[in-house]
């Protein structure tokens, strides 16, 4: 019986390696494109990929996740053709080419029952450095502050650190989280918590009745509209990144992901469509 099973296994392997190689035939593109990286971009890229596959039969777009740092590492090592990075590139990442496909704001969130209406930059820094440990110090109800921070390598963390001029090792976090929804759940379930997440996701959940409040930043309300207009100060691009010479298939996918044809998909994933001129 095992013999049959293994024959089947190797049969399956042999069959696919023959057809697996990327081939170019006729005028259309075909082959396989692998994207890895930011978990924020992954669901959106998956949807764009599905629509791209519908337009170009013979193309397969495989979207993997794992975080922005992984996207950069994978595109450098060649594991992925395109990386997904949900922040601005850093100076030491100048070997990469970034193509923005959408914008996303990052805002601070607190529990709905927390009376604090706004926080100044210094107050936020104090809270995250562990200097302010009780809500009464910033005009709230007395009670301990639970600082929710993002895990190392997450783009949201770097956007947050960059905006407030903080260093990762200065932060005294009580809870360290990964994805946006986890942050929303942690703050919704803890009246003393403060965290920061994607505005689109937080707005979506607050509308659906999650007990949380989005704090304004520098007097600008945390809304998707303010991110779209560019008024909200803490926002970030959702990028596709490549390294070196870009193959035709990847180029075509990137152009498609920046076109008007995917704006409805971007909005559906709670982000702001990229309104640039397309060509870079």
């Amino acid at each position: 019986m095992w013999v049959v099973v293994f024959l089947f296994l190797f049969g399956a392997c042999g069959g696919t390696t023959e057809e697996g190689g990327a081939s170019k035939e006729g005028g259309g593109v075909s082959g396989k494109l692998v994207l890895t990286g930011s978990s924020t971009v992954a669901p959106l890229a998956g949807e764009i990929g599905r629509r791209f596959e519908e337009r170009h039969p013979g193309v397969r777009v495989d979207v993997q996740t794992g975080g922005s740092s992984r996207g950069i590492a994978d595109v450098r090592s060649g594991v992925a053709g395109i990386g997904m990075v949900s922040r601005w590139l850093k100076p030491e990442e100048s070997d990469l080419e970034a193509y923005t496909i959408a914008m996303d704001g990052v805002c601070l969130i607190v529990h709905r029952d927390n009376p604090v209406a706004r926080l100044t930059g210094e107050q936020v820094i104090g809270l995250y450095r562990g200097k302010i440990v009780d809500w009464k110090e910033v005009g709230g109800k007395p009670g301990p502050v639970t600082v929710v921070n993002k895990a190392e390598g997450r783009a949201t963390l770097e956007v947050f650190l960059g905006h407030f001029g903080l260093k990762s090792e200065e932060i005294e976090a009580d809870i360290i989280i990964g994805d946006n929804q986890q942050g929303i759940k942690t703050v919704s379930g803890n009246p003393g918590a403060i965290g920061y997440v994607s505005i689109g996701a937080a707005d979506f959940e607050a509308r659906r009745g999650a007990p949380l409040r989005l704090l304004p930043l520098d007097g600008v309300e945390a809304t998707v509209e303010n991110v779209a207009s560019g008024r909200f100060p803490m926002s970030r691009p959702l990028n596709l990144v490549t390294v070196g010479k870009v193959p035709a298939l990847a180029k075509k996918f990137i152009d498609f992901a920046r076109s008007k044809e995917v704006h409805d998909l971007v909005r559906k994933q709670t982000y702001v469509p990229y309104e640039g001129n397309g060509e870079k």
């Binding site: 392997c13 993997q64 794992g66």
Partner: protein
Amino acid sequence: MKRQSKTQNQALSGWWAGTGQGNLVTGARRQSSRWRDRLAAGLCWTVAAVLLATFGWILADLLSEGLGRLSWDFFTKAPMDAGRAGGIGTVLVSTLLILAVCLLVAAPLGIATAAYLSEYTRRKSSVGRWIRGCLDLLASVPSIVFGLFGAVFFCQMLGLGFSILSGGLTLACMVLPILVRSSETGFRMVSDDLRRGAAALGMRQNTTMAFVILPAALPGIAVGLVLGIGRALAETAALIFTSGYVTRMPASLLDSGRSLSIHIYDLAMNVPGGEPTASGTALVLVVLLAAINWGAAAAMDRWRGRWSRS
């Protein structure tokens, strides 16, 4: 029956008294020891009730959130809109394929290793001790370590890429220690009388193994398989970097395919508004696990009946 329990009580209270002021069993003592019995029984019941309530709570939560999502389309269609809409048909297929690869590799290796440890080496031999030590160490390694190992070894070094094959092989590595250890226990539970009987009849070791010991050890092996399947189906960390995140219907074992638990994790933790589908998928996963457990138990019962008759 009643009488017996009374004498037991007396014996017990005698022991209690013995630790205190001598062997005198008074009426009051008997009363208090009966009270203690009731307390102990009550505590046991409470613990059991808390356990059941926890499970009931989880199930009720999943049912209330996820039941509305279940339909025929949910089981057959591919996920749409990052999983908020559409079904989990493709995810279900990928999960079963990953599980099949995992079991096809882990089961023969695991059972053979268990047989070697129990039947072909002395219990205290250094080889056996080494193998057991390594397995116990492997069993306590966090699954993300297996995931990273799989991503480097299967995906990159062997060039399998993000694929169901990589995921299944990584899971096989992870499940192997559990499978070996519980199968070994299964082999050890086989009475030595059977081995002696076989030897007295002049049966060869291999014949004894195939026709006497293996059938008798099957219940233990089945327990190992069920535990392994449970761990494999619940796994996310080992699979996210090996079998991957793709929700398309897999065309071969070299395609990337998302497993049920990764789908649940992504929808609950990463996709706003993904909760109903996450709960529905979790419900499917729970039912699948329950079905596998019951199926294994029923198959064992039938097997045992047939084996003992023949």
